[in-house]
Amino acid sequence: MIPLIVRDSNFYMVQELHFLLNETEISTTAPSGIVALDYLRKNLRLTGTKEGCREGDCGACTVLVGELINNKVSYKSVNSCLMPLGELHGKHLVTIEGLNMSVLSPIQKAIVDKGATQCGFCTPGIVVSLTGYTIKGNRLTKEGFKKTLGGHLCRCTGYRSLKQGFDAIKEHISSESGVKSHVEKGIIPEYFLNIPARLARISEKSSGKVETPAEFVIAGGTDLYVQKGDILPYSRIDLLNTHPEMKNIVRKNNLLHVGALITFEEFSNHPEVIKAVPAIREYISLIASTQIRNRATLGGNIINASPIADVAILLLAMESTLILKNDNSMRSLPITSFYKGYKQLDKTPSEILAEIIFPIPDSATRINWEKVSKRKYLDVASVNCALKIKGEGGIIKKIHIAMGGVAPIPLFLKNTCDYFLGKQITRNAIEGAFPILQNEISPIDDIRGSSQYKRLLARQLIIAHFTRLFPEAVKVKDFYGPN
């Protein structure tokens, strides 16, 4: 094994990791906290995976990670710049080098034919992502294809040529998909066929013991590596994804229990979640990119306590309860009392968020979630807002509104909600809420927008909720049309 470039410091968590990298079995004592990108480029000199940003925004570093589930390997695209090496134990890591065959795959060929590569720096990552998309086994759609591209920046093409690759690729991939048929169709190399058996053998090997206490708890790492990427390789870390019990979604009576390690993608694809929040797929597609959503967890979004946390805003309006655990105790508290101040939580350092529980809305309850950002996709909100409302005969019986980007915390709009209770849904009633709303929020000027803009957006998004959910009662024209 080529020695690690970083030589000066004492790494914690020296343990032996075993995983498959493309066709090769790797055993390494490289630190768990370094990111897969550095391991590939620096330790192994596999340079097809590129670094464009180290923060999940460009997709040049995209790799696939395959996990053995019920004797089948399920592949997800992830940003290797935010992926701790330690999590690869027992998994299959696929880079562009592992997708190359003697002839170009139909995906590679489509990119060549359509002229969809120019400087080429973004291209390997795109090939990996698109291959991951086609392996998934879902029906290929133009929208899905575009969403996959959405995780990549290309500064040379205008994306049109890339989008045009869709038809050519689809032609090669009929309804039947999955690893076996992909190998037959020359989309991925033959060695993929043996991966399940090889992984099964590897996963029996242990990765050794974690040194405690951990300085950092890492879930998806999509926030932590952006903030602390420089020091994580040298720190004691606890990779939560090695705790399988926090990865379930279960319905118990009228409550949905969601494990804190559930990723955005898993959440939005789960049938129970879709039942509870019918438009969830649409909302989640406006959050980050496929690669990030494959890694980012609900727990991370809540604990991260970013004032614009998109999922936390939804969960605040959903009347969620949080289950916090440490070694010897467990407690629950409503998410509305969890946030105390900027990045201050009602949580001790040793507590782990284990589960999020929310009631499944009844049929008379409506939900809407709004987000406005500079760029519609893969951007952080200027202001976001979630509303859960139950009306009876035009009267508001129950209402929960949360708003992000307007306070030091993801904000539950308690006073505004109190005001609305018992009101008839009319333009006047909504206008009457605005002074209360404006009192309740305290946005600041930052790169996401000026405070005056955010105040205006706060108003607009409340109007958006009501006009979207109750078009029969109020219209945008009622607010801004000629009187």
Binding site: V112, L149, Y159, Q452
Partner: protein, 765 residues
């Protein structure tokens, strides 16, 4: 033909600077930069950094053996700050270590004491304080002053035009290796290998021939690596010289964004006079360019702003004033369009004001004032082979513009909070470096005895498709299979004194130099063939499909046989070609001349849908007619048009470059600075090529295509504005770019801003 390197790109096998195998003992450098905008360095404490295990050296200006100077046009830029700093991000010291991680960590341990001085970030403020670079310039046509009172209407306005970060996906990087003697080899991601060579020699106190610069490819450049790849390559060279070990310097994204310059923001004041029918009679504009801390290429960029200040319109009376204003920001630099976009944005804004005042659609004013053949530009050149009206009419008929306009009207009448907007953006762009002497290039051709061909030019492949174009030209000229041709990396030992790969001129200059070289060899080969075949007129001999023909007769001679015979007969199978664009000049004392070899024309129709409640928009479609001459490779040219368009749309409506009052970059990474993605770009992009070979000097009737399409993106600003006006016809909108959702919403609802602000004041009071 596919792009030459496309297949290897898709396989991740194309090598960028830091992908090449690492030489043993390589070191890694990290740059420590100024944390303040302006000040005197009092103390620089390097001890802590030096004592970090794994650190090999920490270098400052004192370690520079030659001259600490890298200014290209004006000598005002130090490689490493000596006594003063002028912007946040200015390199001060270089940490060299056994790994990047150590170098970065140690750089954080450097401390600096700076006596802060007052700083400016606004160009007009800098101008008022006398902080300017070079002297202001003025172009004059006719006599504006005497015309104002003859106009039916005279309107004034201001454009506040935003800058733009290049976001080449591959950040700045270089690798340098010490060679025997004093020599250094530099692998650089630069558009200007010769500039790197020249400055590295100067820094090291060596001759140019001691420095070899090699460039394989760039992961995007867009102008950002024309002048600003130089510092990093020079730093690498300095480290290699001092440590006598190979070294690599790769900027991380956030550092790249902080330390390197961007497209120039401008403030432009305009005054426009027209008849009531909308004929523009007089136009005056004053451009205040935010140049940043050093001259860099700013004076040349400003010049192009002035050249393109009337875009594709003929206005008989014009006065264009331009000045480079020195501010305490990273030095702004070349970026696709090179100043032209800012000039065009101002004239388009002025025309828009006229249209709005006259209650006419914008396009009616545009079409009434289009340039015509032989009309004079404000810089003295006359329009030749002017195809703008043909372009406009093709766009109108082929895309049924009037029908779209009607549909938009109808849509807007039947929708309240959703409005559509439409705009046409015609473009006229001059081709050549406006600095005349730079319009020269060389090429070197070797044919080996097995018939394979090696080509070197002074052009750099940066995704624009140069090597594909060069291969096409060579294969066509030699009459052989492209598979026989290899375009070499760009290297200063093979080609000397290169002009940068820029100004959309790389194929024009290098392609012509290549043809000159090839024709020399062909001439020798034909002389030989004439003897062998007893043909008296050489002109009758041609090579096609690897075979030799006399007139249309296949002589039975094949390429391999010909090359073999030539070698046996001791005929030189190598040639060097040199090209200089003819008939161009510019007299700066008169501000008149013929700076451009020719002009490229085109037009785009941009349609958007605006969500007037949320302030967000979708770009529905962009439909383009582009005068392309006879394209060498349609796939390459199409890609250039689409990519240029994407950057232009982003510049006008999305890419929000922001500094705070302390000069700190707020849009400092890709999380806070957004560039177009697959969703932002419309699925519906249509491009029609107008094949008008007249006037071009490009090889085989081709035309330059790198920059002009960028300016189609300007249309999106006016399309959004069109929709805003449909929603709020009574509001007064500004010309501040980029037109992001925030600016849209605040301008649609000014009355609510006041309301919420007042409320807010009450709260705090």
């Amino acid at each position: 033909m596919d792009r030459i390197d496309a297949a290897s790109h898709t396989r991740g096998e194309s090598l960028f600077v830091d992908d090449m195998p690492q030489p043993a003992g390589m070191l890694y450098a990290s740059v420590f930069f100024s944390p303040v905008m302006h000040g005197n360095i009092q103390r620089l404490c390097l001890q802590d950094a030096r004592s970090v295990k794994g650190v090999v050296a920490v270098l400052t200006w004192e370690n520079i053996p030659g001259e600490n100077q890298i200014g290209s046009i004006i000598q005002d830029e130090e490689l490493l700050a000596q006594r003063k700093v002028h912007y946040i991000g200015q390199p001060v010291a270089v940490v060299v270590a056994e790994s990047t991680e150590i170098a970065r960590k140690a750089a954080k341990m450097i401390s600096i004491e700076i006596e802060e001085l007052p700083a400016v970030t606004d160009p007009k403020e800098a101008f008022e304080k006398g902080c300017i670079i070079d002297t202001p310039r003025t172009f004059v046509l006719g006599d504006v002053d005497s015309m104002w009172q003859k106009c039916d209407l005279v309107l004034e306005g201001t454009c506040d035009t935003g800058g733009q970060e290049h976001v080449y996906l591959e950040t700045q990087r270089a690798r340098a290796t010490p060679l025997e003697g004093n020599n250094i080899r530099i692998y650089s991601s630069t558009q200007s290998p010769s500039a790197v060579q020249h400055h590295a020699a100067k820094i090291l106190g060596l001759a140019s021939h001691n420095i070899e610069v090699e460039v394989k490819r760039l992961g995007g450049g867009f102008g950002g690596k024309e002048d600003q790849a130089t510092p990093w390559a020079c730093i690498a060279a300095l480290v290699a010289r001092v440590t006598q070990r190979p070294v690599e310097l790769v900027l991380q994204r956030a550092d790249d964004m902080k330390m390197t310059g961007k497209r120039h923001p401008y403030k432009s004041d305009f005054k426009i006079g027209a008849t009531k029918e909308g004929i523009i009679i007089a136009y005056e504009v004053k451009h205040y360019q935010n140049s940043g801390a050093t001259a860099d290429l700013s004076t040349a960029v400003l010049e192009r702003t002035m050249f393109h200040s009337t875009n594709c319109y003929y206005i008989p009376h014009v006065r264009i004033f331009g000045v480079c204003c020195r501010t305490n920001l990273p030095s702004n630099t070349a970026f696709r369009g090179f100043g032209a976009p800012q000039g065009m944005f101002a004239i388009e804004s002025a025309l828009t004001k006229v249209a709005e005042k006259l209650h006419l659609p914008r396009e009616e004013i545009q079409v009434k004032n289009l340039l015509a053949e032989r009309k004079e530009f404000p810089y003295g050149q006359r329009a030749e082979h002017c195809s703008i009206r043909t372009v406009w009419e093709s766009a109108e008929t082929n895309y049924q513009f009037q029908k779209i306009r009607k549909q938009v009207l109808h849509f807007n009448q039947s929708h309240f909070e959703t409005k559509k907007g439409l705009a046409v953006m015609p473009v006229c762009f001059g081709i050549s470096f406006t600095t005349t002497y730079m319009n020269q290039a060389s090429a070197l051709v070797h044919i080996y005895t097995d018939g394979s061909v090696s080509i070197s030019t002074g052009g750099v492949e940066m995704g624009q498709g140069l090597i594909t174009n060069i291969t096409t030209i060579a294969a066509t000229a030699l009459g052989i299979n492209p598979g026989r041709i290899k375009v070499e990396c760009t290297n200063t030992t093979r080609i000397a004194n290169m002009s940068p790969s820029a100004a959309s001129s790389t194929t024009l200059l290098n392609g012509n130099a290549l043809l000159i070289a090839i024709n020399q060899i062909l001439d020798r080969l034909k002389t030989l063939l004439a003897q062998e075949l007893s043909v008296f007129e050489k002109e009758k001999i041609s090579i096609m499909n690897e075979k030799v023909f006399v007139d249309a007769h296949d002589t039975g001679w094949a390429w391999n046989q010909l090359i073999h015979a030539a070698h046996q007969k001791r005929i030189c199978l190598s040639a060097h070609g040199f090209f200089a664009t003819p008939k161009i000049y510019f007299d700066k004392t008169k501000e008149k001349g013929r700076p451009f070899a020719y002009h490229v024309y085109g037009a785009a129709i941009v349609e958007i849908t605006l969500d007037c409640l949320r302030g967000s928009y979708d770009i529905d479609s962009v439909k383009i007619v582009h005068d392309l001459g006879r394209p060498l490779s349609k796939i390459v040219d199409r890609a250039q048009i689409e990519g240029g368009l994407a950057q232009g749309l982003g510049w006008m409506a999305l890419e929000d470059l922001r500094f705070n009052e302390k000069g700190q970059l707020l849009s400092r990474d890709l999380a806070t600075y957004k560039v177009p993605d697959a969703h932002f770009m419309p699925d519906n992009i249509e491009i029609e090529f107008l094949q008008n070979e007249k006037g071009t000097l490009g090889p085989y009737g081709s035309k330059a295509v790198g920059e002009p399409p960028f300016m189609y993106g300007i249309g999106v600003f006016f399309a959004i504005r069109d929709a805003m006006r449909a929603f709020r016809p009574e509001n007064d909108f500004n010309f501040t770019s980029p037109l992001i959702p925030e600016r849209i919403l605040l301008q649609l609802y000014p009355e609510y801003i006041k309301q919420t602000l007042d409320k807010n004041k009450n709260l705090s009071g």
